[in-house]
């Protein structure tokens, strides 16, 4: 009845939820139990980047094929990725409150996240400011590609290059994920959780795409 991957996402999450609370976690200084937030907060960001990758792919395909359906896909994927990013920021803030004692601190990763959100809010400002659908599609596809590349530089490259005092793993003097942050038990929950969230994001995307297509046909 439903495609297999939807049930797969549900099944994975059904396993992830109890394991996220009950499973073994590596004991870390400062983090302690809050390390379980990894399964919620970090997965949001990973899923966001995967979905944004999909949006960039749709944007490129639009520019090649000039088919407005691909523009719709790019816009919807960006929208869902933005929601994931916002949830990622809020869960990160909750985490920061319990570990670093403040909701927001001066950290390159955090500021990168804030700027990413701003850049994608600007994407929607751009979209709303143009009426001609072709023009809108063209410019927002170009902007989407441009912004994605710069955001990858900002969030994934810059914080690693600078010897600044970041509290996120892998940067500054902090040990990276690979070193001893994640035990194997945790990986077994973490990676499937990323997959499941991405699939759920994709599900939401598929439904909103169908709704939008129907709306477009009824309008026409």
């Amino acid at each position: 009845m439903h495609p297999l991957w939807k049930w797969m996402a549900v099944l994975i999450m059904a396993g992830v939820i109890p394991l996220a609370f009950l499973g073994e976690v590596s004991v870390q200084v400062i983090l302690h139990e809050t390390i379980r937030n990894l399964y919620w907060h970090v997965t949001m960001w990973f899923s966001m980047f995967i979905l944004l990758g999909g949006a960039v792919f749709s944007g490129i395909t639009y520019l090649r094929k000039q088919d407005l359906d691909w523009d719709l896909k790019a816009a919807l994927l960006t929208q869902i990725a933005l929601v994931f990013g916002l949830i990622g920021i809020v869960t990160g803030m909750i985490w920061a409150q319990f570990t670093w004692g403040k909701l927001w601190i001066k950290d390159p990763q955090l500021n990168g996240a804030a700027v990413t959100i701003l850049a994608y809010l600007a994407y929607f400002v751009l979209r709303n400011s143009i009426n001609d659908p072709r023009k809108k599609a063209e410019i927002s596809a170009v902007y989407g590609i441009f912004a994605f590349v710069l955001m990858v530089v900002l969030v994934l490259v810059l914080p690693r290059l600078q010897p600044v005092d970041s509290l996120h793993p892998g940067k500054g003097g902090n040990p990276s994920f690979g070193k001893y942050d994640l035990s194997n038990d945790m990986r077994l929950v973490f990676y499937p959780a990323i997959l499941a969230w991405t699939l759920i994001g994709w599900w939401i995307f598929e439904l909103s795409l169908r709704i939008q297509r129907l709306k477009n046909t009824t309008k026409a």
Binding site: F21, L22, V29, I30, T91, P163, G173, L207, R210
Partner: protein, 166 residues
């Protein structure tokens, strides 16, 4: 409808907040110290530290003296990387405290941030079974989200059928 789905997603994520709440006794301080300075503030911060362990490769317990302990700059600075030291401490009340000391070098000066947390893992929550409630709540939220998605999918299917007929 769309916003409702997103709201459910948000609820699901936020529901983990109660678990992250720790009843911790927090204290933190920033000390500007020269290389080789004593860390007397560690004592002042955590009244009654008896022994501590510094993560410098060995795992010996040092006795905490009244004067604090000397950490030499060459012990902690590896090249131009900013080292990240972890200090475990035992106190008089036999409770474990964990302290983290971050050492930043700026032209020979060490900035040492000391923060201390009383460790309180959520073992109690897990032992008396209350964790089950948390998991159940998260499950209900997650199933609500999936239910909403399925409901939407069904109604979409009907809508699409009427669309193809006309």
């Amino acid at each position: 409808m769309t916003y409702l789905r997103f709201f459910a997603l948000c609820c699901l994520i936020f529901s983990q907040a109660p678990l992250t709440a720790q009843d911790s006794t927090k204290a933190s301080a920033s000390v500007l110290a020269q290389a080789g300075d004593t860390l007397a503030d560690l004592n002042a911060l955590n009244r009654g530290i008896l022994e501590f362990q510094v993560d410098l490769g060995d795992s010996t317990w040092y006795q905490m003296s009244n004067q604090g302990h000397v950490i030499l700059a060459q012990d902690v600075v590896e090249g131009d990387r900013l080292p990240h030291l972890e200090i475990k401490t035992k106190t008089a009340d036999n409770e474990f405290y964990e302290n983290r000391i971050r050492v930043l070098t700026q032209q020979g000066t060490l900035t040492i941030h000391v923060s201390s947390d009383k460790i309180e893992m959520a073992t109690g929550l897990r032992a008396n079974g209350k964790i089950g409630v948390v998991i159940a709540v998260v499950f209900v939220l997650f199933l609500t989200l999936i239910g909403l998605l399925l409901y939407q999918q069904q109604s979409l299917r009907k809508w699409e059928k009427t669309q193809t007929k006309t």
